[in-house]
Symmetry: C2
Subunit: 114 residues, 2 copies
Amino acid sequence: MSKQQLASSDCCTPISSAVLDVEQATEGAAAFKALADPVRLRLLSIIASAGDEVCVCDITPQFDVSGPTISHHLKVLREAGLVDCERRGTWVYYWPIRDRMQRIASLLATGASA
Amino acid sequence: MSKQQLASSDCCTPISSAVLDVEQATEGAAAFKALADPVRLRLLSIIASAGDEVCVCDITPQFDVSGPTISHHLKVLREAGLVDCERRGTWVYYWPIRDRMQRIASLLATGASA
């Protein structure tokens, strides 16, 4: 599923306010699947909490898994529209797509206190 | 992972505010995994949007999959602490755990507009 598809669709009506149809559920589940891995969730937290773009050279040393594995997980996050990146010289730099994170969060919003 | 473990732990510091450690990421990813299936997400939307408890007898006809498959997915949602249920007579009745939904949503909160 491309980032464009995700960005253009109305994926994120709170599930407490209306029953999802099959298409909405399929798209929402795909977004949650991108988050359903501990390495990807830590990657996203590193990128989203940095306050600035993050060089992949500073990310990889924080994990016990291989560089190619990190690259794979970053690609999944990118395809889910949660991060974007740019290559400059030797390294690739990542930043979070905060609107996309917030839209996925809004799927679960209930008005209850967290 | 039991509901008790999930409910008692501090799983839901927003990932935009701090880097998750391995344990937090593992727990958060498990929560998202429960949501990473279209049938489960539709089930949760049916239960969470009903405004009252929902009889499993009213849920199953809304899906093309078998009763045992629905039961399996409801069990996953229950084990993730997202719904709870009670058997009364022939049927089982489900309701959402809104605080748990909100806590998972808060993991992704960024302050950006949805």
